[in-house]
Assembly symmetry: C2
Homo-oligomer: 179 residues x 2
């Protein structure tokens, strides 16, 4: 599942194969099929695990007790780590590009992960503005959508234009909301 997650973020769902995983593990193709009968099930397992991880993180006191700007920083750092770690993109963006050619079950998981991330981001933007830590026009929901979509887009853009471009987007997003 670790390898599947990395490959997914590196090449997309249709861009990696059972053989890629088996090869790196030093086992054969069929061994993976024993644990994940279909590729759809493998993909679903990876996203479910990711969703669970995100839920654990945001409910962890280490993150819950941060200030609002620090929470935003923590959020951006998830994606900075993706970028620094082999130029990965966000699972959500990768699967949405392939949305029309992936199994139905996978589409549902992508939708859930996307929604859950936006809900969290919207909440901290709303609370942070209420508390005077952030300032922005529009609703917390639409501001969350801009931030999340731009970070996803920026991870992709960085593949063509370099890491600096990604950092530019993060910094601009911060300036746009910090008081």
């Amino acid at each position: 599942m670790n390898l599947a997650e990395e490959l997914l973020q590196d090449r997309g769902f249709n861009g990696f194969s059972y053989a890629d995983i088996a090869g790196q593990l030093g086992v054969k193709n069929a061994a993976i099929h024993y644990h994940f009968p279909s590729k759809e099930e493998l993909g679903i397992a990876v996203i479910k695990r990711y969703r669970e991880r995100f839920k654990l993180w945001v409910n962890n006191s280490r993150i819950k007790d941060l200030s609002y700007p620090e929470k935003l920083d923590w959020f951006f750092n998830i994606y900075s780590d993706f970028r620094v770690n082999n130029g990965k993109v966000c699972l959500v963006g990768a699967l949405e590009v392939e949305f029309n050619s992936i199994p139905e079950g996978l589409r549902k998981e992508v939708e859930y992960l996307n929604r859950e991330t936006l809900v969290w981001l919207e909440a901290i933007l709303a609370e942070g503005r209420e508390a005077g830590a952030f300032q922005f026009k529009g609703t917390p929901a639409s501001k969350a959508a801009v931030i999340y979509s731009s970070v996803q887009g920026a991870l992709q853009m960085a593949r063509a234009l370099g890491t600096k471009k990604f950092c530019e987007v993060v910094e601009q997003n911060k300036q746009d909301v910090l008081v």
Copy 2:
């Protein structure tokens, strides 16, 4: 080339085949290979044409003579049309997700298109702010990167969350720069 462009925006470079194009044209696989010997050449031709089209547009007086807010609107409308027209995503985003598994020549074209779009957007943001039509913190370059990456991300997000989410991102982006 029209079909290739649509398929590219629908399923990505690795998500469509010569057979898809041939089938819709009512010809055979090999006929396409006569005009575009390799898939890489087909992809390059599509992006080169797209770049040319963009260049013609922005140098056309119908767009050159618009006000700054109208120019920004025109820009957003390119992508709104993508969304409305069968939920397409931006060529650039689609190919960047697959960046690590597409031919080198295609990567170069994606880079050029990306740069050219950002250069134009940066210029109208800079001039528009100078002229008092826009207001934003940070540099025109980083603001352009946020807008462009968020629109790309929003086209993808809309596949999972619907067109409304895309419109939200566009509106929020406008609010963030219009005085």
